[in-house]
Amino acid sequence: MISLYSKACKFFNWEEGAEPLILPVTENPNLPKVVAKKYALVCDRIPGKPSESIASYGAILSRGLVKSPTLNRVIQLSAELSYIKSSDIVRLNPGGGEVRTLFRSDSDHNSILVTERCNSFCLMCSQPPREIDDSYLIEDACEVIKKIPRSTRSLGITGGEPTLLGEGFLRIVRSAARYLPETHLHVLTNGRTFSQRVNSVALKDVGHPNLVLGIPLYSDLPERHDFVVQAAGAFEETIRGIMNLRRDGQNIELRVVIHKQTYARLPELARFIVRNLAFVEHVAFMGLEITGFTKANFGALWIDPYEYRSELDEACRILQSARVKTMLYNHQLCILTPFVRELSVNSISDWKNDYLEKCAPCDRKNDCGGFFSTGFSLEKTSNHISPFISSNRIIPFEEIA
C-alpha cells in the first residue's frame, strides 16, 4: 500500500511563516532558473557542493539522509514517500511539517479531495465527513489542475460532497475543462444538490467535454436508501437530481456499495434501474472497504460476500439483459458466480491493493482485484477465498452455468 501523506518528513531552512505550496516534481537538476523555481527537485541525496542552479528550485526533496544543508527549502522525505518522482505533484506545508502527494504520474487513479464536508452520513463512509472550513482546498484543486500533465487520461473529484462548494465546485470543473480538456473527469457526488434545476444548468454551462458523475444509489425503496446514507429525503433528491442532470445532457454512473444493508434487495434495485434509469452510462457494484465509518458500524454492515453471490448474480443478469453496462469492483474472483466473474474489474486503486498469503499460488491473481489494504480489510475477508489452480481444480457442477 502506498502512502500519500507524511508528517515525518524533516524540513530544513524554510522561511518563518512560509505558506503551503503546490509544486510539480522533477528529477532534472538542470532546469533554467526561471522554470526551476516552479518545481520541486527530487534526488537521492543532496550533493556535497550544490550548484547554483539547484538553489533556484522551489523546493529540494531528498530521499536520503540530510545533514545541515546549506541550501534553502530542503526536505528530507520519509521512507514511505521515497517513491516520489518526476511528474508527480506534491503539496508542501512547512508550517505543519507535512508533505502530501496530490498527483502520481504512475497511477491511473488520481483523485482530488475538494472538501470533507458532506450532506449525507453514509453508514460505510470511507472518508467520514468533517464540518470544517476547508475552502482552501478549492484553490489547491484549481492550482493542482493547472500543473497536471495534459496527457493524463483520467482524474477524479471526491469529497465529502463536492457540490456543497457551490461556485467553488464549478470553478474546479471549469479549471479542468480549460486546462485538461482531454482528461476524463469523474466526479463523485450524491447528486442531491442537482434536485434544484438551476445547479444542473450551471454545470452544463461550464461545458466540460468529458465529464461523468458517479452517483450512489442503494435501494429501490426511498426509506432504505435514506437509512444507508443517514439523510431523510436523500433518495427523492438524488432521483430528481439524476433526472435534471439527464435533461442537461450529463453522463451518469450509478454506484452501489454492497453490504448487509443493501444486498437483500439488489435484484429489485437492478430492476428499478432498468425500468427508470436505463440511460445511465453504467452501473458499478462495489465491495466494502473496512475503514472509516465501516469500522464503527461493522456489525450492521459486514457480510461475507460469498453469502450474497446469488443476489448479485440475479442483479447482474437483470442489468445485462437490458444492456445496461455493469461492472463489479473490489471483489475477489473466487467468491463470485461464473456469470458475475466476467463483469469483475481489476481495479482497486493501486495504492490500496493487496493479497492474502493463500492467494500466492492462484492462477488468476492478475485478473483479480485483490483486497483493500486500508483499515481491517485484510483481516476481515470472506471465509471462501480459495486460489484457482488449474492443474488440480475440479470444477464443481454448479459452476458450469
Binding site: F227, I239, R240, A300
Partner: protein, 494 residues
C-alpha cells in the same frame, strides 16, 4: 424485514425506522394508474409503462381500498414498481412521465420499414401463401423503374433516421433488375440524406446466382428465406415443380453464408396444419441448418390461406400446444449449453422487461400500419401493410392508401383515412383494450381485425390476436416468476 432491529450500528447513527415517512407510519398512500387481470388464482397487475406484479385477491382489494399494510413486502414491491406512491414523493410521478415518454418516442421516427413488392410472379405454389402469387411470365406483374423511383422519393420523405427497404414478392428475384436498380438509386440519394440504410431480400433462394450474391455482398444486403422444417414438411407446405425445394433451400443457405457471412441470412417458418404435429423435427431442422433461433407464429388469416381453407383447420389453442412443445424442446437445448432463441417470445419479453420501445410493428398502438411500415406494390399502389395488400387481392381495398404514380405523400397519409383508423383503434381508447392488463405488451392490429371481423376495432373477446398476446404473456410471466433455471435462459434472450 423492515421492523427488524439493526444490530451493530454505532450510537450516532439512526436506525431504519427513523427514515420511514410519517405518512407511511399512518399508512397513507395513493394509487397510481394500473390495470389488472385474473390469472389462475392470483391477479396480474400492469401499468402504462409495462411494469408488472402478481398479487393475491386479498392484497388487490386492500390495495384499492387503501388499507394495505405499509410494512409488507407487497407494499414495497408496489411502491418500487410505481403502482402506488406516497404523498410527497414527486420523483415517482416524474419517473413515470419520463418512462411513458420514452416508450412513445419511437413514433416520432415515423415510417422506417418500406416493403417493395417488386413482382407478383412466383415459381412456387404454397397453399398458405399470403401473397396470392400469379404464375407465368406476365410482365404486368413486375414493378418498373418509374414506380421504383417514385417509391424511393416517398421513402426518403420519412423523418426516420433508420430506413430499411425490404424486397418481397411473389419471388422478388424474378425481377432482379429492379432490385439492383432500386438499391443503386437509394444509395445515390442517401449520399446526401445520410440515413442508416439497410436492405433485405425475402426470397425462396432458387434463383440465387453468383452475380446476385456478389451484388448483395457489395451493398450489404441481408437475405431472408423460408424454411418450414425438414423435407417432408417443407415440401408439402411449399410445393414446387420438381419437388426438391427443401434441398435447394438448404444448399443455397450455405452458399449464401459462404459468400456473405453466416449472419447475413435468416429464416422464417410458416406454421401449417402439418407443422403442428412436428415441433421437435422443425426445430431440429433449424439447428441442423445452423440457425441461432426460430420465429414461431400462427397462420395469418390472409390471402390464399383463407381461399384454401388452411386458416379454418386449426385455431389458436392448437397453435399454443405446438408453441409449448417447441418451447420445452428449446429449453432443453439451451440447458445443454446451446444458445437458441425463440424470437417471438424474445420480442414479447423485451416489451415486458425493457423501458425502450421494441420497434416490432405488429405489436404496437397506434398500429404500425403505414406509420411504421409501408408497402409499395408492383403497380404503384401503396398499402398500409403486407396484410393490407392481401385484402386487396381478395377484393377489399380498405387499407389501400393510394397510388405512388398519382398521389402525393400528403394525400397518401392524410386523405386515405389511415390516420382515422389508427386513431379509432388505439388500444387506449377501445373497449376491452383500454383497461386490459396486457395492453402494454400488445398492439391494435386493425387490419387483422378487419380481415377476421370486418371491423378494425373488433370484438376482442372473439379475437385470436388478443388471445395470443394474453396466452403467451401468461406463459412467459409464469416462467419468469416461478422457474429460476428457465428464467435465466429467457433473460439471456432479451
Amino acid at each position: 424485514m423492515m421492523s427488524e432491529a439493526v444490530n451493530g450500528l454505532a450510537k450516532k447513527f439512526n436506525p431504519p425506522e427513523h427514515y420511514y415517512s410519517t405518512q407511511k407510519q399512518e399508512a397513507r398512500y395513493k394509487l397510481l394508474p394500473f390495470n389488472f387481470e385474473r390469472v389462475g388464482d392470483s391477479y396480474l397487475l400492469t401499468n402504462e409503462v409495462g411494469e408488472y406484479l402478481f398479487l393475491s385477491e386479498g392484497d388487490l382489494h386492500s390495495l384499492v381500498h387503501e388499507t394495505l399494510d405499509s410494512q409488507s413486502e407487497v407494499y414495497n414491491s408496489l411502491k418500487s414498481r410505481h403502482f402506488l406512491y406516497e404523498v410527497g414523493s414527486e420523483a415517482a410521478i416524474e419517473l413515470l412521465s419520463l418512462k411513458l415518454r420514452t416508450k412513445h418516442a419511437v413514433f416520432r421516427q415515423f415510417t422506417s420499414l418500406h416493403i417493395f413488392v417488386v413482382s407478383l410472379r412466383c415459381d412456387y405454389s404454397c397453399p398458405y401463401c399470403q401473397v396470392s402469387r400469379q404464375t407465368g411470365d406476365a410482365d404486368k406483374y413486375d414493378m418498373d423503374e418509374e414506380t421504383a423511383l417514385r417509391s424511393l422519393d416517398f421513402v426518403f420523405r420519412t423523418p426516420s433516421e433508420h430506413i430499411k427497404i425490404e424486397f418481397q414478392g411473389g419471388e422478388p428475384l424474378l425481377n432482379w433488375e429492379i432490385i439492383k436498380f432500386t438499391v443503386l438509386e437509394a444509395e445515390k440519394i442517401n449520399k446526401t440524406e445520410k440515413r442508416d440504410l439497410a436492405f433485405v431480400i425475402a426470397t425462396n433462394l432458387t434463383l440465387i446466382s453468383d452475380e446476385i450474391l456478389e451484388f448483395c455482398y457489395q451493398h450489404d444486403i441481408f437475405i431472408s428465406t423460408s424454411l418450414d422444417g425438414p423435407a417432408h414438411i417443407h415440401n408439402r407446405n411449399r410445393p414446387r415443380p420438381g419437388k426438391n425445394g427443401h434441398q435447394i433451400v438448404r444448399d443455397q443457405i450455405e452458399r449464401v453464408r459462404e459468400k456473405l457471412g453466416p449472419d447475413r441470412i435468416s429464416a422464417l417458418m410458416t406454421t401449417s396444419e402439418l407443422s403442428l404435429s412436428h415441433p421437435r423435427e422443425i426445430i431440429d431442422e433449424y439447428l441442423d441448418a445452423n440457425f441461432k433461433g426460430i420465429f414461431l407464429r400462427p397462420l395469418s388469416p390472409y390471402g390464399f390461406a383463407v381461399k384454401t381453407r388452411q386458416i379454418e383447420k386449426y385455431d389458436f389453442d392448437r397453435f399454443f400446444e405446438f408453441y409449448q412443445e417447441s418451447m420445452e424442446y428449446i429449453f432443453e437445448i439451451n440447458e445443454a449449453g446451446i444458445s437458441f432463441v425463440e424470437e417471438f417470445s424474445a420480442l414479447l419479453l423485451r416489451k415486458i422487461s425493457l423501458p425502450y420501445p421494441t420497434g416490432y410493428v405488429d405489436l404496437q398502438s397506434p398500429a404500425g400500419a403505414g406509420i411504421s411500415a409501408i408497402v409499395f406494390s408492383y403497380d404503384g399502389d401503396v398499402y398500409a401493410s403486407d396484410e393490407s395488400r392481401m385484402l386487396a387481392e381478395m377484393g377489399d381495398y380498405k387499407f389501400r392508401l393510394g397510388n405512388i404514380l398519382s398521389n402525393t405523400y400528403e394525400e397518401i397519409f392524410f386523405e386515405s383515412g389511415l390516420l382515422e383508423i389508427l386513431e379509432e383503434t388505439l388500444t387506449d381508447s377501445v373497449p376491452e383494450c383500454y383497461q386490459c392488463a396486457y395492453k402494454p405488451y400488445c398492439g391494435s392490429e386493425p387490419v387483422y381485425h378487419y380481415a377476421t371481423q370486418k371491423d378494425p376495432v373488433g370484438n376482442k373477446a372473439l379475437s385470436g390476436f388478443c388471445k395470443k398476446t394474453k396466452t403467451i404473456t401468461n406463459y412467459l410471466l409464469d416462467i419468469m416468476e416461478n422457474d429460476p433455471a428457465k428464467r435465466k435462459i429467457l433473460q439471456s434472450w432479451i
